[in-house]
């Protein structure tokens, strides 16, 4: 039994361990399990990995003529890629291993960000952001990059302009919006969801959790709700001038004002509200 435990521990340790493929170690530092990290990488890629050790390790390949600046102590560090006048546009590849309970604020211009089990704020001007795993809270923003957020977290805030925004996994409170980008939501455990776009289509697949509250708002994009057979909620769909398409044949609408469709599915106490200016609203079986 003891041997088995040691074996499991060794496997876990190697799974958690760093990879030489990440590039040479640039910095390694003892760090508080709840410390804060500030990271700036203009171009290239950033990979963030949460681990259960009280330390941070930075690996990677620096752009030519660029250097890693690094300052701070056990509770907080500030680091990033500093280039020459042309260095900012040269791609660097940075991998940061950090304590699971820590927080990071990462900012990039065009560098893509990938994070596993990390919490904090993630901003990229044009890079894509892909986050997964368990986090205490996440705020992810991009101007026109795409966001793929597959998270288990109590709080998620996501923004992009015309990039694609995908919310999946098991977030609880979600506030997500795009300007022109498509917004896809496949997250069955959301308890309070607010999904907004100006001209991008919003697609929601699944069924609202018991007691959840959803609010969808769009100007000219469509809002498409593909509901599973078990969906149970009170729906209020209203559009100023867009069509409302009811794909359910067995729904009997409740008396409603013009350009509004109200109906209940099942006997759940979830509430789903959809509002558009001229975008179509579609509700249909999954």
């Amino acid at each position: 039994m003891k041997r088995l435990l040691i074996l499991v521990a060794l496997i876990a340790r190697s799974a958690l361990g760093q990879s030489a493929a990440d590039g040479p170690v640039l910095r390694a530092h003892a760090f508080d399990s709840t410390g804060s990290i500030n990271l700036y990488v203009p171009a290239g890629s950033v990979r963030l990995v949460a681990w259960t050790r009280d330390s941070i390790v930075v690996r990677g390949e620096m752009a030519k003529n660029a250097r890693l600046f690094f300052g701070g102590g056990r509770q907080g560090v500030k680091m990033g890629v500093e280039g020459t006048s042309r260095g900012d546009s040269e791609p660097s590849s940075i991998v940061v291993y950090m304590p699971r309970g820590g927080r990071i604020s990462v900012r990039t211009a065009s560098a893509n960000i990938v994070g596993e089990g990390v919490s904090g704020e993630f901003y990229s001007s044009s890079g894509n952001i892909r986050l997964s795993g368990i986090a205490s809270s996440v705020e992810a923003e991009s101007m026109n990059g795409s966001l793929d957020l597959d998270l288990t977290t109590p709080w998620l805030r996501a923004r992009t302009g015309d990039g694609h925004l995908l919310v999946r996994g098991a977030p609880q409170d979600v506030d997500a919006s795009t300007i022109g980008g498509t917004l896809d939501v496949i997250a069955p455990k959301v308890m309070r969801g607010q999904f907004v776009s100006v001209s991008g289509d919003i697609h929601w697949i699944g069924s609202p959790a018991h007691g959840s509250v959803f609010d969808f708002s769009n100007h000219s994009g469509a809002v498409d709700l593909a509901l599973s057979a078990s969906a149970s909620a009170a729906f209020t769909l209203s559009s100023v001038s867009g069509p409302i398409e009811n794909g359910f044949t067995r729904i009997r609408p409740i008396a409603s004002p013009p350009r509004t469709l109200r109906f209940n599915l099942g006997d759940g106490d979830a509430h789903v509200s959809v509002r558009t200016f001229k975008g179509a609203i579609r509700v249909r079986p999954e």
């Binding site: 900012r107 211009a109 065009s110 901003y123 001007s125 044009s126 923003e141 101007m143 026109n144 923004r159 302009g161 015309d162 506030d175 919006s177 300007i179 022109g180 607010q194 907004v196 100006v198 001209s199 509250v213 959803f214 609010d215 708002s217 100007h219 000219s220 209020t236 209203s238 100023v240 409603s256 004002p257 013009p258 350009r259 509004t260 109200r262 509430h271 509200s273 509002r275 558009t276 200016f277 001229k278």
Partner: protein, 223 residues
């Protein structure tokens, strides 16, 4: 088994004092406390401290200031998120009740969004002049509220203008593209409100679009 002379760990003393000891440890810790005066005294001291703490915080902190004056700025912030007050209790002229639909407010005001029945009874007791007055009041309110958003957006646009010189061309293009999308939406909503000033859904959508614009500009400035 905990020997009397090995003393309890800090974890055990604290948990014994606040009652959070796991059930399977309780009997052993109690037995040790019965036999060890030093640990028992320390646990009692922690428990006494916790009791005093609870007593002293049972009421508001001494000298708590009056909080009445905070309501006014709170109300101002709430109103600022609404574009205009969304209740229709004002100059309604309909003889039929408005039909209300509950809609969660977008990011800010969580309010009852109402959809007025479009077919206002022209034969109601209220004069056409009163209706015109009501509409112009609502339009003035919309104008006042949107001015606040536009002022905030303008500050952010001015700041952005300074940053443009150092921005990458593709970043500038993305910002401009997104701004155009939001501005088109805002213009369409303003037109629609001018035609139908008392439609609260339009005002709600306008507020949402303005918030999108302000957030977009903040994001652009952050980059």
């Amino acid at each position: 088994m905990i020997e009397p002379m090995t003393h309890l760990t800090e974890d055990e003393r604290q948990a014994a004092a606040d009652g959070t000891l796991p059930a399977d440890r309780r009997a052993l810790v109690d037995a040790h406390l019965a036999a060890c005066d030093e640990c028992a005294a320390d646990v009692a001291r922690i428990a006494e401290f916790m009791k005093r703490t609870r007593e002293s915080t049972a009421s508001a902190p001494a000298g708590a200031p009056s909080l009445d004056e905070l309501w006014s700025p709170i109300r101002a912030r709430i109103e600022a998120t609404k574009v205009v007050a969304l209740d229709t209790a004002g100059p309604s002229t309909s003889t039929r009740p408005f039909l209300w639909l509950v809609a969660a407010g977008v990011a800010a005001a969580l309010v009852l969004t109402t959809f007025a029945l479009r077919a206002r009874p022209r034969d109601s007791q209220t004069s056409v002049a009163t209706q015109v007055e009501a509409d112009s009041t609502m339009l003035r309110a919309v104008a006042d509220s949107t001015r606040a958003y536009e002022a905030e957006a303008q500050i952010l646009l001015d700041r952005l203008e300074i940053q443009r010189a150092t921005m990458r061309p593709e970043a500038k293009a993305a910002i401009d593209r997104n701004l155009r999308t939001v501005d088109v939406a805002i213009a369409e909503l303003k037109d629609a409100i001018a035609r139908d000033p008392r439609n609260p859904a339009l005002r709600q959508l306008l507020a949402t679009s303005y918030r999108q614009k302000v957030e977009l500009l903040k994001r652009a400035n952050a980059g």
